[in-house]
Each structure stands twice: as structure tokens, then as C-alpha cells.
């Protein structure tokens, strides 16, 4: 029996494993890097061990440090989660060699599936349909896909549509594979256009029982990474399902698989399917299978690691589940990762966290809470939200509504896009393939349209007014902005536009809003009636940032200061003359790299020399001083700009 389990991972998957451990009475051990010291997963575990550093290579990829952490805390088992070392056979062996229980498949199975070229050969031998492997030197039919044998996450992958592109694509794929995986082996496959990504969840015990828990459809992807997953697939018939499951079980048996795993297939538009790879770990999207099959896959992994037997047959599926992955990425900016403090993270109506809801409902697996700082070091996935409902339509509707109603402040996410996808007609028709996101226009538009942003800004201004009144040390209960001789409106300037309003005896007068009346205004909530339609706007503020959530869609605003401090408007890094004086010497020239404290200019005033020093390391961009110059106090002397930040480490 496992007594105490260390999760060699972070974020939502660590929390998800801990939830099952708590249910089972197993002690929990977290590991955390320096930037994760206050992360929810580290805080809520019974014990946590700091891994010094930030980059994955210094922390979550350090097998020795992880095993030492288990030893230090007396943990007797290790769960690898997904990503990081989850598919690293050497780590699995090291865990086992340390006398710990490895909650995962046998190292040999991991190793066998680690090479895509080798895996394909094994599968083909077991009778699983595979795409033919093409000799890169002899490709004659296009398009083809170049893949790295050791690859994953789309790296080392190239689409080649003509013979002329092939050689450069091979070379660049080899370079990328070599640097990313330390293995330059690449291979070619025919490219299936408009294919779907379908995968089968497996659960195998050590006694020969293998369950195939239906398929998951994961076709909605950006950069070969899934963002929407569901089960069952709208494209899979019962007959096809049986064939897929049979193939997956055959694959598992071929490699002596034990534990939870996934066999991924490409499903062509013709209904033909081809083996892609085996993921020898728990998948990110496992919650949809858990919901529909009423299972706890982590509990099953632990039981199997403890030697338990599976029942002869898996449970029957019920209903439909869809998962979305909420990433701190901006789809409108080519999915650029975003960071910052997540001031608010609140999804109303959640029925269960890290667990199957007791009845059809909403499940949230989140690695973050309100106040979490989202950094740049790791995968930018914040949370997964799952709706489980009797039908696909019902699940999509529930999930879209939950996304629209979520309050997510401080970090840009792909929430708006996910909500749009779940209401988009071809998605609802089940017409998705791996090119869906690039094919359907308009998905990156924010949920709130221009009119919604304007009304939200008005609501924000009125909420700020209510906050001003509530905080007023005197006259706080007199009417807001009262004037006996009114001459002009109150003005609130946001970067997104100015709001001008007066609160009069006869109600709200807002410039540019014809038929809008104020029903109520509190610092956190404003109710407006626009053209007879009443809507509530929830308003939150932190510093100069204001967030408005309403049925019109989430809106983030930036409050502009009433007064600009001239000192603050000087270019950052500007150096001003501390007193009137004469320049005696200049110690640097523009273009120099200077270090903090280095003398730049020497001034003489009142027979004393005053040294003006560089305020920081950086580039001396400008210098407005030459020997003999007479300068006034406050005159701009020099501008030092900081060095470009070092590029961020690998995520």
C-alpha cells in the first residue's frame, strides 16, 4: 500500500493527483521551483520540497532532486503527472531503483514507445493500421509530413507540399529535433488532409486485463496542441469505435502495457484510421473520460501500481463531456504567452473540482487561484474546464456559458476564443479537424463588441464613482458629484475611451448614451438599463486596471491618471542635473555599455565637484553634456536604457 506520494509535477495536474490522494488517505508531497513557492499545488500539499531554480532543467526535470525529495519526506511512491519526466524511462527506472513505487507504466513500455519510428514498426507488426513510412530520399507523392522520431508537441514537424521544399524541410526538422530532443532522426509520412485527431484511453492492470475506455476527439488544435477535447467523438460510429478500441488494446498488449495510457490515431475523412503514437502517461484531457465513465483514473493508476485487478469489463459510458484548456495566451497575437498577476479567477457554477461531478455538471481542474502569479517559465495552461451533460449540444452550451460567466482578471487568456468555438456552427455540427482554428474566421474576436466595451466603460466609471463616495472621508453620503450650479460632467478617462457623466436628480446623464439609465451603482456592481434592457456589470479594480464582466462579455480597461506627474513622464533611465553647474568632465560616450554606479558626468558647482553616475547597467543612449556646458538644475544630462532581457528559458 502506498502511504505517501510525491507528485513530480506542478500546476493543475499536481493538484488533481493530490485530490485523489486525499480521498484515499495517502499523504501528499509537492515539489516546487522558486517561482512556484507560493503556487497552489505547493501550498496545499501536506509537505513540499523546494527545487532551487526556475528553469525546468534545474527543477522539475531533475530526476536526482526529485528522488531526493521523496527520500527526505519519506514518500513511498512517485506520480509523474504529464509532461516533464512522465515519459522518461530512465526516470521511471531511477524511481524504481530507489525502492519507490512508480505510478506509471513499466519503463520498458515507455522506452518502446519513445521512438516514433520504432513504435510504428511494433504497431504494424501487431496489426495496428499505420501510415506507411516513406524514405525521405524517395518521396514522390505530396503532401508529406516530416516528423522527429523523438518528437512531441509539434516540434521537429514540417508539412511539405512539393519536391522542392523537401530537402530544406528535412534539414530544418533535423536541426530542431537535434536541439529539442538530442536526436536528429526524422522520418516522412503521407500527410492526411482534413484529418481528425482521435485517441483511445486505455487502462491495463498487471494481470492481463486491458480496458479501452472509448475515444476522445481532440481535433481543435493550435500549433499541434489541443485546446478542446471531448468524448465521445461526433465522428465515430459504434462500429468504428469497436475497431479503434480493438486496435488500441492490441497496441497495449504488444508492448505489455500496464497502467493508464493513450493510443492516438489520425482519422481520415474517409473513415480510415492510422496509428500515431502511444502516450505512456495520464493525458491532460483525461477528465472527459472520467466524467463519461464515472471513473477516477488516478485512483485506478494507484490501485494498479499497488497490484490491484481491474474488473473484467469497463463501466458503461454515460452522456457527453467536453473539456477546454484555458491558456494564458492571446489568440489575437498569434497565441503569444501572457504573464502577470491573475487578480481574479472565479468560475461560477462549478460542481466539482478535480473530480467527477455527482451528477451532470461542471468540473474545474485549475492550477491557479485568484492572486496567483502567472510566470513565463512553464506551460501557460491555467486550468481545464469540463462540462458533462446528457448530449453534446447540452455540454457545449453549458461550457460556453460557464466560460462567458467566468471572471478572469489580470492575464490575457484564450477564454473568449474558447467560448466562440463552443457556439460556432461547424463545431456544433461536429465538423472539426486539426486545421479547424486556422480555417474558421472570426474566432479571435473578443466576446464584447464595441457597444459592449462602451457600456462596460460607463459601468466602470460609475462603479469607480461609487467607490470614491464610499471612501470619502467627508460628505460621503451626499449625492455623487452634486452641484448646485452644474457646469460640466464628471470625467473618467480610460485608455479605451473617456466617459463623461453626471448623476442628477433625474438620473444618469452620460454623454453619447441616449437611452441608458442607472438602476444601481456599488463599487463592485453597476446595473444599467440600456434601451429598456437591464444588465448587471461586475467591476473589479487593481491599481489602474479595471475589469468589467457582464453578459456583453468581459472587458479590461486601463484607467488614465487625472494628472500626469511630469517627473514620471521623463524617459525611464533619464538622468537630471542635480544642481546648476558647469560640466567639468564627461566620462563616457553615447553607445557605451555602462554599469550601475559608473561615473558619467562631473559637474562643478559652488567650487565642489559632483559626480553623476549611471543609475543601472545598460546602454548610454544619449548624453547632453560637454565640458564647459552650463546646466540648470533639472536639465536632462543622459539617458541609460537597460539591456535587453535575457531570452526566457525553455518552457
Amino acid at each position: 500500500m502506498i502511504r505517501k506520494l510525491l507528485v513530480a509535477n506542478r500546476g493543475e495536474i499536481a493538484r488533481r493527483v493530490f485530490r485523489t490522494c486525499r480521498d484515499l488517505g495517502i499523504g501528499t508531497v509537492a515539489v516546487c521551483s522558486d517561482p512556484d513557492a507560493a503556487a497552489p499545488h505547493a501550498v496545499e500539499a501536506d509537505e513540499s520540497v523546494r527545487l532551487a531554480g526556475a528553469a525546468p532543467a534545474e527543477t522539475y526535470l531533475r530526476a536526482d532532486a526529485l528522488i531526493e525529495a521523496a527520500r527526505a519526506t519519506g514518500a513511498d511512491a512517485v506520480h509523474p503527472g504529464y509532461g516533464f519526466l512522465s515519459e522518461n524511462a530512465d526516470f521511471a527506472r531511477a524511481v524504481i531503483a530507489a525502492g519507490l513505487t512508480w505510478v506509471g507504466p513499466p519503463p520498458e513500455a515507455i522506452a518502446a514507445m519513445g521512438s516514433k519510428v520504432g513504435a510504428k514498426k511494433l504497431m504494424a507488426a501487431a496489426g495496428v493500421p499505420v501510415l506507411p513510412e516513406l524514405d525521405p530520399a524517395a518521396v514522390d507523392a505530396f503532401p508529406v509530413l516530416v516528423k522527429a522520431s523523438a518528437g512531441g508537441g509539434g516540434r521537429g514537424m514540417r508539412v511539405v507540399r512539393s519536391a522542392g521544399e523537401l530537402v530544406p524541410a528535412l534539414e530544418s526538422a533535423r536541426r530542431e529535433a537535434s536541439s529539442a530532443f538530442g536526436d536528429a532522426t526524422v522520418f516522412c509520412e503521407p500527410l492526411l488532409e482534413r484529418a481528425r485527431h482521435v485517441e483511445v484511453q486505455l487502462l491495463a492492470d498487471a494481470h492481463g486485463t486491458v480496458w479501452a475506455l472509448g475515444e476522445r476527439e481532440c481535433s481543435v488544435q493550435r500549433r499541434h496542441q489541443k485546446i478542446v477535447e471531448e468524448t465521445p467523438s461526433p465522428a465515430v460510429s459504434p462500429g468504428l469505435r469497436a475497431a479503434l478500441c480493438e486496435a488500441a488494446v492490441a497496441a497495449a498488449r504488444a508492448i505489455g502495457y500496464v497502467g493508464a495510457g493513450t493510443v492516438e490515431f489520425l482519422l481520415g475523412p474517409d473513415g480510415g484510421f492510422h496509428f500515431l503514437e502511444v502516450n505512456t502517461r495520464l493525458q491532460v484531457e483525461h477528465p472527459v473520460t472520467e466524467c463519461v465513465y464515472g471513473l477516477d483514473l488516478v485512483a485506478a493508476q494507484i490501485a494498479i501500481a499497488e497490484g490491484a485487478r481491474l474488473d473484467p469489463a469497463p463501466p458503461e459510458p454515460r452522456g457527453h463531456a467536453i473539456e477546454v484548456r484555458l491558456y494564458a495566451e492571446d489568440p489575437a497575437e498569434d497565441w503569444r504567452p501572457r504573464s502577470g498577476v491573475l487578480h481574479t479567477f472565479d468560475v461560477p457554477g462549478v460542481d466539482a473540482r478535480f473530480a467527477v461531478p455527482p451528477a451532470y455538471g461542471l468540473r474545474l481542474d485549475s492550477g491557479v487561484e485568484s492572486g496567483t502569479e502567472v510566470g513565463v517559465h512553464y506551460d501557460p495552461m491555467l486550468a481545464k474546464l469540463v462540462a458533462w451533460a446528457p448530449t453534446r449540444e447540452a455540454a457545449a452550451r453549458r461550457l460556453a456559458a460557464a466560460l462567458r460567466g467566468a471572471r478572469i482578471h489580470g492575464v490575457v487568456t484564450c477564454r473568449d476564443l474558447l467560448a466562440r468555438v463552443l457556439a460556432e456552427p461547424s463545431f456544433l455540427a461536429g465538423d472539426t479537424d486539426t486545421a479547424y482554428l486556422s480555417r474558421v474566421p472570426g474566432l479571435t474576436a473578443p466576446l464584447a463588441d464595441e457597444a459592449g466595451v462602451r457600456l462596460s466603460a460607463l459601468a466602470a466609471a460609475l462603479a469607480l464613482a461609487a467607490a470614491n463616495r464610499a471612501a470619502a472621508p467627508v460628505l460621503g453620503r451626499l449625492p455623487s458629484g452634486w452641484r448646485n450650479v452644474p457646469s460640466q460632467p464628471q470625467r473618467t478617462a480610460f485608455a479605451e475611451g473617456e466617459v463623461a457623466y453626471r448623476l442628477t436628480r433625474d438620473g444618469l446623464r452620460a454623454e453619447g448614451f441616449e437611452d441608458v439609465s442607472l438602476v444601481s451603482a456599488d463599487p463592485g456592481r453597476v446595473v444599467l438599463a440600456a434601451s429598456g434592457v437591464r444588465r448587471a456589470f461586475d467591476v473589479a479594480r487593481s491599481g489602474d486596471r479595471v475589469w468589467v464582466d457582464s453578459v456583453l462579455g468581459p472587458v479590461a480597461l486601463r484607467l488614465l491618471p487625472r494628472f500626469a506627474d511630469p517627473a514620471a513622464t521623463l524617459a525611464a533611465g533619464s538622468l537630471l542635473s542635480p544642481m546648476p553647474g558647469t560640466v567639468v568632465r564627461v566620462e563616457a560616450v553615447p553607445g557605451d555599455q555602462v554599469t550601475a554606479g559608473q561615473p558619467l558626468v562631473v559637474l562643478e558647482a559652488m567650487k565642489m565637484e559632483h559626480v553623476v553616475r549611471a543609475p543601472r547597467d545598460g546602454l548610454l543612449e544619449r548624453l547632453h553634456a560637454a565640458p564647459g556646458d552650463r546646466l540648470d538644475a533639472g536639465a536632462l544630462l543622459a539617458v541609460v536604457t537597460p539591456r535587453e532581457d535575457e531570452p526566457a528559458g525553455p518552457a
Binding site: 469607480l464 464613482a465 470614491n468 463616495r469 470619502a472 472621508p473 467627508v474 460628505l475 453620503r477 451626499l478 449625492p479 455623487s480 458629484g481 452634486w482 452641484r483 448646485n484 450650479v485 457646469s487 460640466q488 464628471q490 473618467t492 436628480r505 487625472r562 494628472f563 500626469a564 506627474d565 511630469p566
Partner: protein, 533 residues
């Protein structure tokens, strides 16, 4: 608990309401004149120079969404000078501190001071002194209006005296100089505790280049004689150098933030209730003909917290209502005329009530609708003068702060007994329905007629009835016009004509402002218990 039960009949008051709304429309039109400043042409020119109009400066100075009470907006009404008297004054909240703000309106004849400007400014400074409110001057004035200098020059010296006396009394004075402040005007920043000047805009000197040239032959320019940079770096007259107008206002706000201002009085009660009745009904209470009495309890019910009014001596001297309430959480004693006339009983009741308020340090609110003290042999013989004097004595020597609202009539010595302007209430506001005079216009014309007739009889001459009728009509019209609120407000005999619906807000703001000064000290001389007369 004394919650007032309103007996107001909305149907019966519809006509009153119509009349009041018509007067409010007239008031709005007069206020619009003050808001227009020097007119679109001069306002535009001012803006083109990159300058803000006076009220925009004030709006930027005060805290966002805070209330602002403009004072004497009708000053100079009915004179040769524009309504508003080329200056904006008021009470506003700056960084959480109630301040008196005085802002020259440079679009009106360059912001030059005329006799009404001076009167209005002095009134604002009196309010700063009595209530210990920091004073912020937004300065841009071309100095005195020279044609009327005889009325400004000698009394106007008080401006500088009062600035430094405020400072000496521990009331901070701040000047933000946006433009001209020359000659005598230079002493406004000169006498202020804190001075901010705007780069390339402020111009502060005793004599400009032409005068200097005439006096000493020296060639000079504006900047070297009085520019902001010169004063900030060389003369030291400017404590802060502002990049522009916004920056000056930012600096002004930061100065107030660092005054460490504390209100000494008790804080208002928290959690008080709003009146139970709609303030809108205040429009229908006062009849257009002031001969018709109205129940002031209907007003009180729409002004005090929770409409909760504990009446004192309700069965005695019933022409005057007295009692206790709170208004925006501030305790207050109220004296309100019920049927116009003050008899001996009302006078005695008032004197007792004022003494009680002084015993507990409770501010008093006078709601005026009085035709004066009763005349006639019976009343003279019963000592109406003694009793009127008793009441005036009590009002005059009361040490608690007084507030007065003239709702309707304010005639004769009733104006005095009910704390008219001469009795120095901290604040006095007028409803558009009010009239103040030594007596009613018809009565005054009638008295003149009787006196004239008697004089003619004494000389044995025939009385010219035609001339008498013409005289009576003329006198009545003149007295009527001179007893109306705009006229009196124009002479700065009140602090403004207000919409009756704003009464609660205005009084709440004033009671809060009053709380910046410590409660009145006990009298130094012999003290007696409260007399029941």
C-alpha cells in the same frame, strides 16, 4: 421617536409646484449667465491660449465625484457687472479636506475685480475663517476694475489682511497662480502660505515693464519681473513650479494632502436614515402668495434624517415650531415659523430653545417664513418689544453655529429674530419663493400713503389721490423687486438661491463644513442656567 406625519396633499399643491418650477427655470437662466463667463468669444480665446476656464480648474481641483457647493453665484445680479462678479467661490473637497475655493474668471474682463467681486471674495474668506477651512485661490486677475476703484481700493486692502490673518489663525492659504496677478494682486500669492506658479503663464509683479520704465527708466520684460521660473529660482516667491495648469492643480492637491488637516468636532452619526418623504414634494409646499401660511413640519419631514423630529414645547407658542433632529448625521436644533407672526410666547419659546441648544452645543437651523413681531395695542402692552428683544438677544449672543434658510417671507424684525444676514449665521440660503424687506410691499406703500395723507391734512392741503395711487403702485413695484431673492443674492445678502430639493444636501454640506472649527467655548463671563421666560 417623533416621525413627522405628512399631511401634504399632492393634488392641492400642484399649483404651488408649477409656480416653484417656473421660478427655478428663471434661476437656472440666471445661473447660466454666470456659467457663460465673459461669453463664448472670450472663453474661446482663453481656451486657445491653452488655458482652462475657472470652473474647469475648480472641477480638476476637487476630488472626483465629490459634491461642490458654489457660493454667491448670483453676485452682481441687477448691477452693471456680469452675474457672478467674475469670480467663482465655493466649498469643495480636496484630498478629503473641505476647502474654500476662490477662482478668478479671467474670461470676464480679464478677471478684474469690481465691487461685487470684492464683496463675494470677502464672504468666501469669512466662511474660511469662521469654519477654519483651508483656502485655495486659483489666481488669474487683471487687478481692480479701474472705473470703480473708489469702491475697491480702500476696503479691498482687507483681502491681504485677511489672508495673513487666516494664516495666523492656523488656517492654511494656498495660491495657484495661472496668469496675471500683478500690482496689488501680487499680494495674493505674496500673503499666501503656499504658492504654485505655472511656467510661462504666471505673471506676478508690482509694476510691469511700462511702469518700471516710467518709474526708473529700467528696460525689463514680464519674465524677469514676475515669471514663474524667476519666482521659483530667484525671488523664492513661488514654492512650486508647475509645468502647466494641470500640473499646478496636481501640486495644489498634493499641498492640501500634506496639511494634515483634522476635523476637531464630533464626527456625524453613521448609518442615519434618509427622509421618509420625497424631496421632490418640497416644490409644492410654499404657496406663490406668501399670505397663505404653510406647515414647516412638511419641510422638516423632507430635510432631516428619517423625517425624525422631536418637537419641543409643541403646545406653547405654536406659531413657532422648535425641536431636535439630525441632518446627514449632524445633530441640529430647528426653529421654523409656522404662521408667520411672532408673538410674545413664540419669542420666549425661541429664547429658551436657543439657550438649550447652547447648553448642549447643538447647531441651530432657522427656517424663515415670518411677517415679523405682532403689532397692536394688546401686544405692545403685553411687552412684545421686551420679548422680541429677548429673542434677538438670544440669537445675537448664541455661540453655537447658526444656519438660516429663507423659505418664504422675511419681514421686519422677524428677519433679525430668525437670524437674518446681520446676525451672522454661518450660512444663509434662500428659496426662490422668498421675500425679504422691512415689511410687505403693499403694507409699505400703504404706510407711506397714510403718512402722506396725514402730512397733507396737517398742512391743510387737499390730498392728491391720483398721485397717491401712482406713488403706491411705484413704491409697491420697487419694494417687490428689491425684496426678491435674485436682487438680494446679487448684493451678497445670502450665500445663494437654492432649489428647495437641494436643501438637505446644502445643509448637510454646511454642517459638515462647520465641523472643521472646534465647538464653541464656554462663555467667559457670568453664566446662568437656562431661563424659562
Amino acid at each position: 421617536m417623533g416621525v413627522v406625519r405628512s399631511r401634504l396633499d399632492p393634488a392641492a399643491t400642484a399649483a404651488n409646484r408649477e409656480a416653484m418650477l417656473a421660478r427655478l427655470a428663471e434661476l437656472a437662466a440666471e445661473h447660466a449667465k454666470a456659467l457663460g463667463g465673459g461669453g463664448p468669444k472670450y472663453v474661446e480665446r482663453h481656451r486657445r491660449r491653452g488655458k482652462l476656464p475657472a470652473r474647469e480648474r475648480v472641477e480638476l481641483l476637487v476630488d472626483p465625484d465629490s459634491p461642490f457647493l458654489e457660493l454667491s453665484p448670483l453676485a452682481a445680479w441687477g448691477t452693471d457687472f456680469p452675474v457672478g462678479a467674475s469670480v467663482v467661490t465655493g466649498i469643495g473637497v480636496v484630498e478629503g479636506v473641505e476647502c474654500v475655493v476662490i477662482a478668478n474668471d479671467p474670461t470676464v474682463r480679464g478677471g478684474a475685480s469690481n465691487p461685487w467681486t470684492v464683496k463675494k471674495t470677502f464672504r468666501a474668506m469669512d466662511i474660511a475663517r469662521e469654519n477654519r477651512l483651508p483656502l485655495v485661490n486659483l489666481v488669474e486677475s487683471g487687478g481692480a476694475d479701474l472705473p470703480t476703484q473708489k469702491e475697491i481700493f480702500i476696503p479691498g486692502g482687507r483681502l491681504f489682511r485677511d489672508l495673513t490673518r487666516l494664516s495666523a489663525a492656523g488656517i492654511p492659504t494656498i495660491s495657484l497662480v495661472f496668469g496675471n496677478s500683478t500690482a496689488g494682486g501680487a499680494y495674493v500669492p505674496g500673503m499666501s502660505d503656499y504658492v504654485v506658479m505655472v511656467r510661462e503663464r504666471a505673471k506676478v509683479f508690482l509694476g510691469g515693464p511700462p511702469l518700471v520704465k516710467m518709474a526708473t527708466g529700467e528696460e525689463s520684460d514680464d519674465e524677469s519681473l514676475g515669471g514663474a521660473e524667476m519666482h521659483a529660482r530667484v525671488s523664492g516667491l513661488a514654492d512650486y513650479f508647475a509645468e502647466d495648469e494641470h500640473d499646478a492643480i496636481r501640486l495644489g492637491r498634493s499641498i492640501v494632502r500634506r496639511l494634515n488637516h483634522r476635523k476637531p468636532g464630533p464626527a456625524p452619526l453613521a448609518g442615519y436614515a434618509e427622509p421618509l418623504y420625497d424631496e421632490d414634494e418640497l416644490l409644492g409646499i410654499v404657496p406663490p402668495d406668501l399670505k397663505t401660511p404653510f406647515d414647516p413640519r412638511e419641510v422638516i419631514a423632507r430635510v432631516v434624517d428619517g423625517s425624525d423630529f422631536d418637537e419641543f414645547k409643541p403646545l406653547y407658542g405654536t406659531s413657532l415650531v422648535t425641536g431636535w433632529a439630525t441632518l446627514h448625521g449632524h445633530p441640529v436644533g430647528i426653529l421654523a415659523n409656522a404662521r408667520g407672526v411672532l408673538f410674545s410666547e413664540e419669542s420666549q419659546k425661541a429664547a429658551q430653545f436657543i439657550q438649550l441648544a447652547n447648553q448642549t452645543g447643538t447647531p441651530l437651523l432657522f427656517l424663515q417664513n415670518t411677517t415679523g413681531y405682532m403689532v397692536g395695542a394688546e401686544y405692545e402692552q403685553k411687552g412684545i418689544i421686551k420679548h422680541g428683544a429677548l429673542m434677538i438677544n438670544a440669537v445675537s449672543n448664541s455661540r453655537v453655529p447658526h444656519l438660516t434658510v429663507v423659505m418664504g417671507a422675511s419681514y421686519g424684525a422677524g428677519n433679525y429674530g430668525m437670524c437674518g444676514r446681520a446676525y451672522d449665521p454661518r450660512f444663509l440660503f434662500t428659496w426662490p419663493s422668498a421675500k425679504s424687506a422691512v415689511m410687505g410691499p403693499a403694507q409699505l406703500a400703504g404706510v407711506l400713503s397714510i403718512v402722506g395723507r396725514q402730512a397733507a391734512q396737517a398742512r391743510g392741503q387737499a390730498y392728491d389721490e391720483e398721485a397717491d395711487a401712482a406713488m403706491r403702485a411705484m413704491v409697491e413695484a420697487q419694494i417687490e423687486a428689491e425684496s426678491l431673492p435674485f436682487f438680494l443674492s446679487g448684493r451678497v445678502y445670502d450665500d445663494g438661491v437654492i432649489d428647495p430639493r437641494d436643501t438637505r444636501t446644502v445643509l448637510g454640506l454646511c454642517l459638515s463644513a462647520i465641523g472643521n472649527a472646534p465647538p464653541p467655548a464656554a462663555p467667559a463671563g457670568p453664566a446662568y442656567g437656562v431661563f424659562r421666560h
